[in-house]
Amino acid sequence: MKVLIIIGIVFGSTSLIGQSYWQAGYTGGNIVHPGISLTYVQTVHQSLKLTRSGDTLHRELGMGFNAGLVYHKNYNTSATLLGQISKRRVKGNGNYFAYRIGLGYMHSWVPNTYVFERGVVKKEVTSLNYIIAEPSIEWGWSLSKSPGFIEGIYLRPKVQFSAPYFMGSNQYLMLDLGVFINTKKTAQ
Protein backbone atom coordinates (compact mmCIF):
# COMPACT_ATOMS: atom_id res chain seq x y z
CA MET A 1 0.00 0.00 0.00
CA LYS A 2 2.84 2.40 0.91
CA VAL A 3 4.36 1.78 -2.49
CA LEU A 4 1.08 2.63 -4.23
CA ILE A 5 0.87 5.89 -2.25
CA ILE A 6 4.43 6.82 -3.29
CA ILE A 7 3.65 6.02 -6.93
CA GLY A 8 0.48 8.12 -6.66
CA ILE A 9 2.42 11.09 -5.28
CA VAL A 10 4.93 10.82 -8.12
CA PHE A 11 2.17 10.61 -10.75
CA GLY A 12 0.34 13.52 -9.17
CA SER A 13 3.45 15.63 -9.33
CA THR A 14 3.62 15.37 -13.10
CA SER A 15 0.80 17.88 -13.53
CA LEU A 16 3.23 20.71 -12.75
CA ILE A 17 3.93 23.07 -15.63
CA GLY A 18 7.27 23.14 -17.49
CA GLN A 19 9.08 21.13 -20.12
CA SER A 20 7.98 17.58 -20.59
CA TYR A 21 9.17 14.81 -22.82
CA TRP A 22 8.41 11.23 -23.75
CA GLN A 23 10.86 8.45 -24.34
CA ALA A 24 10.06 5.24 -26.16
CA GLY A 25 12.41 2.42 -26.93
CA TYR A 26 13.83 -1.01 -26.51
CA THR A 27 14.57 -2.39 -23.08
CA GLY A 28 15.92 -5.75 -22.09
CA GLY A 29 18.23 -7.96 -20.13
CA ASN A 30 20.90 -9.40 -22.46
CA ILE A 31 20.19 -8.89 -26.14
CA VAL A 32 17.94 -11.85 -26.74
CA HIS A 33 15.36 -10.94 -24.10
CA PRO A 34 13.68 -7.93 -25.66
CA GLY A 35 11.12 -5.51 -24.34
CA ILE A 36 9.57 -2.11 -24.77
CA SER A 37 9.78 0.87 -22.48
CA LEU A 38 7.77 4.09 -22.35
CA THR A 39 8.82 6.97 -20.12
CA TYR A 40 7.18 10.30 -19.44
CA VAL A 41 9.08 13.07 -17.64
CA GLN A 42 7.71 16.39 -16.46
CA THR A 43 10.23 19.02 -15.43
CA VAL A 44 9.29 20.42 -12.02
CA HIS A 45 12.30 22.68 -11.53
CA GLN A 46 14.98 24.07 -13.77
CA SER A 47 17.88 26.49 -13.65
CA LEU A 48 20.01 28.02 -16.36
CA LYS A 49 23.76 28.42 -16.15
CA LEU A 50 26.17 30.10 -18.53
CA THR A 51 29.44 28.17 -18.83
CA ARG A 52 32.90 29.76 -19.24
CA SER A 53 32.87 28.83 -22.91
CA GLY A 54 29.63 30.77 -23.35
CA ASP A 55 27.36 27.73 -23.69
CA THR A 56 24.12 27.43 -21.76
CA LEU A 57 23.52 24.53 -19.38
CA HIS A 58 20.04 23.64 -18.18
CA ARG A 59 19.72 21.77 -14.91
CA GLU A 60 16.39 20.09 -14.55
CA LEU A 61 14.61 18.12 -11.88
CA GLY A 62 11.97 15.87 -13.40
CA MET A 63 9.26 13.54 -12.21
CA GLY A 64 7.32 11.00 -14.18
CA PHE A 65 6.65 7.37 -14.80
CA ASN A 66 7.97 4.44 -16.75
CA ALA A 67 6.04 1.47 -18.08
CA GLY A 68 7.84 -1.53 -19.49
CA LEU A 69 7.32 -5.04 -20.78
CA VAL A 70 10.14 -7.57 -21.16
CA TYR A 71 9.69 -10.90 -22.88
CA HIS A 72 11.74 -13.95 -21.98
CA LYS A 73 10.83 -17.20 -23.63
CA ASN A 74 12.03 -19.40 -20.79
CA TYR A 75 12.37 -17.27 -17.67
CA ASN A 76 10.45 -14.24 -16.48
CA THR A 77 8.21 -12.31 -18.83
CA SER A 78 7.57 -9.14 -16.85
CA ALA A 79 5.42 -6.02 -16.87
CA THR A 80 6.67 -3.07 -14.82
CA LEU A 81 5.27 0.28 -13.72
CA LEU A 82 7.43 2.78 -11.87
CA GLY A 83 7.30 6.33 -10.61
CA GLN A 84 10.60 8.14 -11.25
CA ILE A 85 12.59 11.16 -10.15
CA SER A 86 15.38 12.36 -12.42
CA LYS A 87 18.05 15.04 -12.65
CA ARG A 88 19.20 16.14 -16.08
CA ARG A 89 21.95 18.44 -17.39
CA VAL A 90 21.11 19.64 -20.88
CA LYS A 91 23.80 21.35 -22.94
CA GLY A 92 23.07 24.15 -25.37
CA ASN A 93 23.21 21.69 -28.28
CA GLY A 94 20.47 19.57 -26.71
CA ASN A 95 22.68 16.68 -25.62
CA TYR A 96 22.19 15.67 -22.02
CA PHE A 97 23.26 13.44 -19.17
CA ALA A 98 20.71 12.32 -16.58
CA TYR A 99 20.46 10.07 -13.61
CA ARG A 100 17.25 8.78 -12.16
CA ILE A 101 15.73 6.47 -9.59
CA GLY A 102 12.47 4.67 -10.05
CA LEU A 103 10.31 2.74 -7.64
CA GLY A 104 7.37 0.58 -8.56
CA TYR A 105 5.83 -2.81 -9.17
CA MET A 106 6.68 -5.75 -11.38
CA HIS A 107 4.45 -8.65 -12.27
CA SER A 108 6.32 -11.61 -13.62
CA TRP A 109 5.22 -14.81 -15.36
CA VAL A 110 7.37 -17.94 -15.59
CA PRO A 111 6.02 -20.19 -18.34
CA ASN A 112 6.11 -23.96 -18.51
CA THR A 113 6.39 -24.61 -14.79
CA TYR A 114 5.72 -27.94 -13.12
CA VAL A 115 4.68 -27.65 -9.50
CA PHE A 116 5.64 -30.61 -7.35
CA GLU A 117 3.68 -30.85 -4.12
CA ARG A 118 3.12 -33.93 -1.98
CA GLY A 119 4.10 -36.29 -4.76
CA VAL A 120 1.76 -34.69 -7.31
CA VAL A 121 2.93 -32.84 -10.45
CA LYS A 122 0.81 -29.99 -11.87
CA LYS A 123 1.70 -27.87 -14.90
CA GLU A 124 1.03 -24.14 -14.74
CA VAL A 125 2.32 -20.64 -15.48
CA THR A 126 3.79 -19.33 -12.25
CA SER A 127 2.93 -15.74 -11.48
CA LEU A 128 5.13 -13.61 -9.20
CA ASN A 129 4.80 -10.11 -7.72
CA TYR A 130 7.76 -7.90 -6.90
CA ILE A 131 8.47 -4.41 -5.65
CA ILE A 132 11.23 -3.00 -7.81
CA ALA A 133 13.76 -0.18 -7.60
CA GLU A 134 15.64 0.99 -10.68
CA PRO A 135 18.59 3.37 -10.45
CA SER A 136 19.86 4.37 -13.87
CA ILE A 137 22.07 6.77 -15.76
CA GLU A 138 21.24 8.12 -19.17
CA TRP A 139 22.87 9.83 -22.11
CA GLY A 140 20.80 11.68 -24.69
CA TRP A 141 21.94 13.00 -28.05
CA SER A 142 19.97 15.61 -29.98
CA LEU A 143 19.63 14.61 -33.63
CA SER A 144 19.81 18.14 -35.10
CA LYS A 145 19.54 21.81 -34.20
CA SER A 146 16.04 21.97 -35.69
CA PRO A 147 14.57 18.65 -34.68
CA GLY A 148 11.39 17.17 -36.10
CA PHE A 149 8.97 14.96 -34.20
CA ILE A 150 11.79 12.79 -32.84
CA GLU A 151 14.21 15.07 -31.08
CA GLY A 152 16.99 12.64 -30.25
CA ILE A 153 18.12 9.25 -29.04
CA TYR A 154 18.97 8.03 -25.55
CA LEU A 155 20.94 5.21 -23.96
CA ARG A 156 20.07 4.15 -20.41
CA PRO A 157 21.87 1.35 -18.56
CA LYS A 158 20.05 0.45 -15.37
CA VAL A 159 20.04 -2.03 -12.53
CA GLN A 160 16.71 -3.49 -11.56
CA PHE A 161 16.37 -4.68 -7.97
CA SER A 162 13.35 -6.85 -7.27
CA ALA A 163 12.13 -8.02 -3.89
CA PRO A 164 11.10 -10.08 -1.99
CA TYR A 165 13.59 -12.65 -3.20
CA PHE A 166 15.85 -15.34 -1.81
CA MET A 167 18.19 -13.59 0.65
CA GLY A 168 16.88 -10.08 -0.08
CA SER A 169 16.60 -8.88 -3.65
CA ASN A 170 17.41 -10.07 -7.12
CA GLN A 171 19.28 -7.89 -9.59
CA TYR A 172 19.21 -7.56 -13.35
CA LEU A 173 21.41 -5.38 -15.49
CA MET A 174 19.31 -3.92 -18.27
CA LEU A 175 19.74 -1.52 -21.13
CA ASP A 176 17.22 0.90 -22.61
CA LEU A 177 17.79 2.36 -26.06
CA GLY A 178 15.27 4.60 -27.80
CA VAL A 179 14.12 8.01 -28.90
CA PHE A 180 12.83 11.03 -27.03
CA ILE A 181 10.17 13.52 -28.05
CA ASN A 182 9.72 16.92 -26.46
CA THR A 183 6.10 17.89 -26.00
CA LYS A 184 6.66 21.41 -24.63
CA LYS A 185 9.66 23.59 -25.50
CA THR A 186 11.88 25.05 -22.82
CA ALA A 187 11.69 28.83 -22.51
CA GLN A 188 15.14 30.08 -23.66
Partner: protein
Protein backbone atom coordinates in the same frame (compact mmCIF):
# COMPACT_ATOMS: atom_id res chain seq x y z
CA UNK B 1 3.77 -36.93 -61.46
CA UNK B 2 4.52 -33.38 -60.45
CA UNK B 3 1.89 -33.55 -57.68
CA UNK B 4 3.13 -36.91 -56.39
CA UNK B 5 6.64 -35.45 -56.14
CA UNK B 6 5.26 -32.44 -54.31
CA UNK B 7 3.32 -34.60 -51.82
CA UNK B 8 6.40 -36.80 -51.23
CA UNK B 9 8.52 -33.71 -50.66
CA UNK B 10 5.98 -32.42 -48.10
CA UNK B 11 5.87 -35.80 -46.33
CA UNK B 12 9.69 -35.90 -46.09
CA UNK B 13 9.73 -32.31 -44.89
CA UNK B 14 7.13 -32.98 -42.19
CA UNK B 15 8.92 -36.14 -41.09
CA UNK B 16 12.20 -34.27 -40.74
CA UNK B 17 10.42 -31.49 -38.85
CA UNK B 18 8.95 -33.89 -36.31
CA UNK B 19 12.35 -35.52 -35.68
CA UNK B 20 13.76 -32.09 -35.17
CA UNK B 21 11.14 -31.22 -32.56
CA UNK B 22 11.89 -34.44 -30.65
CA UNK B 23 15.55 -33.52 -30.47
CA UNK B 24 15.05 -29.85 -29.70
CA UNK B 25 16.28 -28.88 -26.21
CA UNK B 26 13.39 -28.61 -23.79
CA UNK B 27 13.32 -26.01 -21.06
CA UNK B 28 11.01 -25.83 -18.09
CA UNK B 29 10.91 -24.98 -14.40
CA UNK B 30 10.17 -27.20 -11.44
CA UNK B 31 8.59 -25.47 -8.45
CA UNK B 32 9.37 -27.26 -5.21
CA UNK B 33 9.32 -25.96 -1.64
CA UNK B 34 9.31 -22.28 -2.61
CA UNK B 35 12.02 -22.51 -5.27
CA UNK B 36 11.74 -22.40 -9.05
CA UNK B 37 14.48 -24.62 -10.47
CA UNK B 38 15.28 -24.22 -14.18
CA UNK B 39 15.75 -27.51 -16.06
CA UNK B 40 17.19 -27.98 -19.54
CA UNK B 41 16.82 -31.34 -21.28
CA UNK B 42 19.22 -31.60 -24.19
CA UNK B 43 20.42 -34.46 -26.34
CA UNK B 44 18.75 -37.44 -27.90
CA UNK B 45 15.31 -37.56 -26.32
CA UNK B 46 14.25 -40.09 -28.96
CA UNK B 47 16.44 -42.72 -27.23
CA UNK B 48 14.12 -42.44 -24.21
CA UNK B 49 17.08 -42.44 -21.88
CA UNK B 50 17.40 -39.37 -19.70
CA UNK B 51 20.31 -38.74 -17.35
CA UNK B 52 19.60 -36.16 -14.66
CA UNK B 53 22.95 -34.49 -13.99
CA UNK B 54 23.58 -33.28 -10.43
CA UNK B 55 26.27 -30.64 -10.47
CA UNK B 56 29.20 -30.47 -8.07
CA UNK B 57 29.99 -27.62 -5.74
CA UNK B 58 28.12 -26.90 -3.63
CA UNK B 59 27.23 -23.75 -5.51
CA UNK B 60 28.02 -24.80 -9.07
CA UNK B 61 25.46 -24.20 -11.75
CA UNK B 62 24.23 -27.01 -13.99
CA UNK B 63 23.00 -24.70 -16.73
CA UNK B 64 26.46 -23.15 -17.07
CA UNK B 65 27.86 -26.67 -17.47
CA UNK B 66 25.33 -27.20 -20.25
CA UNK B 67 26.22 -23.89 -21.88
CA UNK B 68 30.00 -24.18 -21.63
CA UNK B 69 30.02 -27.96 -22.11
CA UNK B 70 33.48 -28.52 -20.58
CA UNK B 71 33.24 -32.30 -21.00
CA UNK B 72 32.10 -32.03 -24.61
CA UNK B 73 28.97 -34.00 -23.73
CA UNK B 74 27.19 -32.59 -26.75
CA UNK B 75 29.51 -34.71 -28.89
CA UNK B 76 30.21 -37.69 -26.63
CA UNK B 77 27.04 -38.27 -24.57
CA UNK B 78 24.10 -36.37 -25.97
CA UNK B 79 23.89 -38.24 -29.30
CA UNK B 80 23.11 -41.39 -27.26
CA UNK B 81 21.15 -40.08 -24.28
CA UNK B 82 19.35 -36.92 -23.24
CA UNK B 83 20.85 -35.05 -20.30
CA UNK B 84 18.74 -33.00 -17.93
CA UNK B 85 20.74 -30.10 -16.46
CA UNK B 86 19.36 -27.98 -13.64
CA UNK B 87 20.41 -25.19 -11.30
CA UNK B 88 20.28 -26.21 -7.68
CA UNK B 89 18.39 -24.22 -5.07
CA UNK B 90 20.23 -20.98 -4.28
CA UNK B 91 22.55 -21.18 -7.29
CA UNK B 92 22.53 -19.84 -10.81
CA UNK B 93 19.12 -19.04 -12.13
CA UNK B 94 17.09 -20.90 -9.54
CA UNK B 95 14.69 -18.23 -8.39
CA UNK B 96 11.97 -17.23 -5.93
CA UNK B 97 11.72 -16.37 -2.30
CA UNK B 98 12.61 -19.60 -0.56
CA UNK B 99 14.32 -19.31 2.81
CA UNK B 100 17.91 -19.93 3.80
CA UNK B 101 16.60 -22.63 6.13
CA UNK B 102 15.61 -24.66 3.09
CA UNK B 103 19.23 -24.80 1.92
CA UNK B 104 19.84 -28.26 3.36
CA UNK B 105 21.17 -31.50 1.93
CA UNK B 106 17.81 -33.18 2.51
CA UNK B 107 16.02 -30.43 0.60
CA UNK B 108 18.58 -30.74 -2.23
CA UNK B 109 17.72 -34.45 -2.38
CA UNK B 110 13.99 -33.63 -2.29
CA UNK B 111 14.57 -31.23 -5.20
CA UNK B 112 16.19 -34.04 -7.20
CA UNK B 113 13.19 -36.24 -6.41
CA UNK B 114 10.79 -33.52 -7.61
CA UNK B 115 12.69 -33.08 -10.89
CA UNK B 116 12.72 -36.83 -11.45
CA UNK B 117 8.95 -36.92 -10.88
CA UNK B 118 8.50 -34.17 -13.47
CA UNK B 119 10.78 -35.95 -15.95
CA UNK B 120 8.72 -39.10 -15.40
CA UNK B 121 5.54 -37.09 -16.05
CA UNK B 122 6.92 -35.42 -19.20
CA UNK B 123 8.63 -38.51 -20.61
CA UNK B 124 6.54 -41.44 -19.34
CA UNK B 125 8.32 -43.98 -21.55
CA UNK B 126 11.85 -42.82 -20.75
CA UNK B 127 14.28 -44.64 -18.50
CA UNK B 128 15.74 -42.26 -15.95
CA UNK B 129 19.31 -42.27 -14.64
CA UNK B 130 20.96 -40.12 -12.00
CA UNK B 131 24.53 -38.90 -12.47
CA UNK B 132 26.39 -36.70 -10.01
CA UNK B 133 29.88 -35.30 -9.89
CA UNK B 134 31.73 -34.58 -6.62
CA UNK B 135 29.17 -32.95 -4.29
CA UNK B 136 26.54 -34.07 -6.80
CA UNK B 137 27.72 -37.67 -6.44
CA UNK B 138 27.30 -37.41 -2.67
CA UNK B 139 23.72 -36.25 -3.25
CA UNK B 140 23.23 -39.27 -5.51
CA UNK B 141 24.30 -41.54 -2.65
CA UNK B 142 21.79 -39.93 -0.34
CA UNK B 143 19.07 -39.94 -2.98
CA UNK B 144 19.55 -43.66 -3.51
CA UNK B 145 19.11 -44.36 0.19
CA UNK B 146 16.20 -41.94 0.63
CA UNK B 147 14.13 -42.41 -2.53
CA UNK B 148 15.73 -45.34 -4.34
CA UNK B 149 12.84 -47.62 -3.44
CA UNK B 150 10.50 -45.38 -5.45
CA UNK B 151 12.28 -46.86 -8.51
CA UNK B 152 12.16 -43.69 -10.54
CA UNK B 153 15.86 -44.15 -11.26
CA UNK B 154 17.11 -47.22 -13.05
CA UNK B 155 20.86 -46.72 -12.56
CA UNK B 156 23.19 -44.36 -10.72
CA UNK B 157 26.51 -42.84 -11.75
CA UNK B 158 28.64 -41.34 -9.01
CA UNK B 159 31.71 -39.52 -10.32
CA UNK B 160 34.34 -38.66 -7.70
CA UNK B 161 32.03 -38.50 -4.72
CA UNK B 162 33.68 -38.22 -1.33
CA UNK B 163 32.65 -41.02 1.04
CA UNK B 164 34.61 -40.25 4.20
CA UNK B 165 34.99 -37.27 6.51
CA UNK B 166 38.17 -35.68 7.84
CA UNK B 167 37.53 -37.27 11.23
CA UNK B 168 37.15 -40.78 9.79
CA UNK B 169 40.16 -43.02 10.15
CA UNK B 170 39.52 -44.45 6.69
CA UNK B 171 39.85 -40.97 5.19
CA UNK B 172 43.55 -40.81 6.10
CA UNK B 173 44.29 -44.46 5.47
CA UNK B 174 42.95 -44.02 1.94
CA UNK B 175 45.06 -40.93 1.31
CA UNK B 176 48.20 -42.59 2.66
CA UNK B 177 47.54 -45.54 0.36
CA UNK B 178 47.19 -43.09 -2.54
CA UNK B 179 50.54 -41.42 -1.80
CA UNK B 180 52.22 -44.83 -1.41
CA UNK B 181 50.79 -45.89 -4.75
CA UNK B 182 51.92 -42.80 -6.68
CA UNK B 183 55.30 -42.86 -4.89
CA UNK B 184 55.94 -46.46 -5.97
CA UNK B 185 54.75 -45.68 -9.48
CA UNK B 186 57.11 -42.70 -9.76
CA UNK B 187 60.06 -44.59 -8.26
CA UNK B 188 59.48 -47.45 -10.72
CA UNK B 189 59.40 -44.93 -13.59
CA UNK B 190 62.47 -43.10 -12.28
CA UNK B 191 60.61 -39.84 -11.66
CA UNK B 192 61.75 -37.74 -8.64
CA UNK B 193 63.00 -40.91 -6.96
CA UNK B 194 64.57 -39.11 -4.02
CA UNK B 195 61.43 -37.07 -3.29
CA UNK B 196 59.12 -40.08 -3.43
CA UNK B 197 61.46 -42.29 -1.39
CA UNK B 198 61.43 -39.59 1.30
CA UNK B 199 57.63 -39.44 1.03
CA UNK B 200 57.38 -43.20 1.62
CA UNK B 201 59.69 -42.96 4.62
CA UNK B 202 57.69 -40.02 5.99
CA UNK B 203 54.44 -42.00 5.75
CA UNK B 204 56.06 -44.98 7.50
CA UNK B 205 57.03 -42.67 10.37
CA UNK B 206 53.56 -41.06 10.66
CA UNK B 207 50.98 -43.75 11.21
CA UNK B 208 48.31 -41.76 13.08
CA UNK B 209 47.83 -38.56 11.02
CA UNK B 210 46.15 -36.89 13.97
CA UNK B 211 48.04 -33.58 13.83
CA UNK B 212 47.05 -30.81 11.43
CA UNK B 213 50.70 -30.42 10.36
CA UNK B 214 50.89 -34.10 9.47
CA UNK B 215 47.70 -33.89 7.41
CA UNK B 216 48.96 -30.76 5.65
CA UNK B 217 52.23 -32.48 4.74
CA UNK B 218 50.40 -35.54 3.44
CA UNK B 219 48.27 -33.24 1.31
CA UNK B 220 51.44 -31.58 -0.05
CA UNK B 221 52.64 -34.99 -1.27
CA UNK B 222 49.26 -35.55 -2.91
CA UNK B 223 49.42 -32.17 -4.61
CA UNK B 224 52.65 -33.21 -6.36
CA UNK B 225 50.55 -35.35 -8.71
CA UNK B 226 47.62 -32.97 -9.14
CA UNK B 227 46.48 -32.57 -12.72
CA UNK B 228 45.48 -29.25 -14.27
CA UNK B 229 41.97 -29.78 -15.64
CA UNK B 230 40.40 -26.36 -16.00
CA UNK B 231 37.97 -26.17 -18.88
CA UNK B 232 39.07 -23.93 -21.72
CA UNK B 233 36.69 -21.02 -21.63
CA UNK B 234 37.10 -18.90 -24.71
CA UNK B 235 36.06 -15.29 -25.12
CA UNK B 236 33.17 -16.37 -27.34
CA UNK B 237 31.82 -18.59 -24.51
CA UNK B 238 31.70 -15.65 -22.11
CA UNK B 239 30.28 -13.43 -24.86
CA UNK B 240 27.59 -15.99 -25.64
CA UNK B 241 26.58 -16.31 -22.00
CA UNK B 242 26.60 -12.56 -21.45
CA UNK B 243 24.64 -11.56 -24.50
CA UNK B 244 22.93 -14.51 -26.09
CA UNK B 245 22.41 -17.11 -23.39
CA UNK B 246 18.96 -18.41 -22.66
CA UNK B 247 19.93 -18.12 -19.00
CA UNK B 248 19.87 -14.89 -17.08
CA UNK B 249 23.58 -14.60 -16.46
CA UNK B 250 23.72 -11.76 -13.98
CA UNK B 251 21.52 -12.95 -11.11
CA UNK B 252 23.95 -15.71 -10.20
CA UNK B 253 27.17 -13.76 -10.35
CA UNK B 254 25.85 -10.69 -8.60
CA UNK B 255 24.73 -12.89 -5.75
CA UNK B 256 27.98 -14.67 -4.96
CA UNK B 257 28.85 -12.62 -1.89
CA UNK B 258 25.30 -12.22 -0.68
CA UNK B 259 24.71 -15.96 -0.79
CA UNK B 260 27.82 -16.75 1.23
CA UNK B 261 25.79 -17.47 4.38
CA UNK B 262 23.63 -20.04 2.65
CA UNK B 263 26.68 -21.58 0.99
CA UNK B 264 28.52 -21.88 4.30
CA UNK B 265 25.45 -23.49 5.87
CA UNK B 266 25.42 -26.15 3.17
CA UNK B 267 29.17 -26.80 3.36
CA UNK B 268 29.01 -27.10 7.16
CA UNK B 269 26.24 -29.65 6.88
CA UNK B 270 28.20 -31.55 4.24
CA UNK B 271 31.26 -31.67 6.51
CA UNK B 272 29.21 -32.95 9.43
CA UNK B 273 27.45 -35.59 7.35
CA UNK B 274 28.40 -39.12 8.38
CA UNK B 275 28.29 -40.31 4.80
CA UNK B 276 30.54 -43.30 5.55
CA UNK B 277 27.75 -44.97 7.53
CA UNK B 278 25.34 -44.64 4.60
CA UNK B 279 27.61 -46.19 1.97
CA UNK B 280 26.94 -49.86 2.91
CA UNK B 281 23.20 -49.22 2.44
CA UNK B 282 23.57 -48.35 -1.27
CA UNK B 283 21.86 -51.21 -3.05
CA UNK B 284 20.95 -50.14 -6.60
CA UNK B 285 22.98 -50.39 -9.84
CA UNK B 286 25.94 -48.09 -9.42
CA UNK B 287 28.84 -46.92 -11.56
CA UNK B 288 31.73 -45.29 -9.71
CA UNK B 289 34.05 -43.19 -11.87
CA UNK B 290 37.24 -41.54 -10.69
CA UNK B 291 40.51 -40.08 -11.90
CA UNK B 292 43.79 -41.92 -11.26
CA UNK B 293 45.29 -38.72 -9.83
CA UNK B 294 42.26 -37.22 -8.14
CA UNK B 295 43.66 -35.69 -4.97
CA UNK B 296 40.19 -34.82 -3.62
CA UNK B 297 38.74 -38.29 -4.02
CA UNK B 298 41.64 -40.71 -4.67
CA UNK B 299 40.88 -43.94 -6.56
CA UNK B 300 41.44 -45.85 -3.31
CA UNK B 301 38.38 -44.06 -1.87
CA UNK B 302 36.22 -45.27 -4.74
CA UNK B 303 37.66 -48.77 -4.34
CA UNK B 304 36.60 -48.61 -0.68
CA UNK B 305 33.08 -47.53 -1.71
CA UNK B 306 32.97 -50.30 -4.29
CA UNK B 307 33.78 -52.88 -1.60
CA UNK B 308 31.30 -51.43 0.89
CA UNK B 309 28.11 -50.99 -1.17
CA UNK B 310 25.34 -53.57 -1.14
CA UNK B 311 24.67 -53.15 -4.87
CA UNK B 312 24.97 -56.39 -6.80
CA UNK B 313 25.29 -54.53 -10.09
CA UNK B 314 28.28 -52.26 -9.61
CA UNK B 315 31.24 -51.07 -11.65
CA UNK B 316 34.36 -49.11 -10.89
CA UNK B 317 36.19 -47.20 -13.61
CA UNK B 318 39.38 -45.27 -12.91
CA UNK B 319 40.37 -43.00 -15.78
CA UNK B 320 44.12 -42.70 -16.48
CA UNK B 321 45.91 -39.32 -16.48
CA UNK B 322 42.90 -37.69 -14.90
CA UNK B 323 42.10 -35.84 -11.70
CA UNK B 324 38.93 -34.73 -9.94
CA UNK B 325 37.41 -33.23 -13.10
CA UNK B 326 38.14 -36.29 -15.22
CA UNK B 327 35.11 -35.66 -17.44
CA UNK B 328 37.01 -32.58 -18.68
CA UNK B 329 40.48 -34.14 -19.07
CA UNK B 330 39.26 -37.52 -20.39
CA UNK B 331 35.92 -36.70 -22.00
CA UNK B 332 35.84 -39.62 -24.41
CA UNK B 333 36.80 -42.24 -21.83
CA UNK B 334 34.32 -40.78 -19.36
CA UNK B 335 31.50 -40.89 -21.91
CA UNK B 336 32.40 -44.44 -22.94
CA UNK B 337 32.26 -45.60 -19.34
CA UNK B 338 28.85 -43.98 -18.80
CA UNK B 339 27.30 -45.25 -22.03
CA UNK B 340 28.64 -48.77 -21.56
CA UNK B 341 27.17 -48.89 -18.06
CA UNK B 342 23.79 -47.59 -19.23
CA UNK B 343 23.72 -50.09 -22.12
CA UNK B 344 24.55 -53.13 -20.00
Amino acid sequence: MKYIALVLALVVLCASCSTDIDEKPQFFHVEVEGALLPVLVRGSQATEKIVLYVNGGPGGTGLDVAELDPGNWQDYLEPDVAIAYYDQRGTGNAQCRFTQESMTLNQYVDDIHAILHVLYERYPRARLYLMGHSFGAMLCYRYMNTYGDAHLVEKYIAASGVATRLKDEEHWEIRKAFVRSVANENITNGVDEEYWTNALNWIAEHEEMSEIEERAELFQHMQKVAIEEAAEIEFKDVYNILLFSENNFFPYYLHLKKRQGAYNQLVDEERQWDIKSEIPELKFPLLLIGGAYDISVPPQELEWVYEQVASTEKELVILPDAGHDHYISQPELFANAVLTFLDD
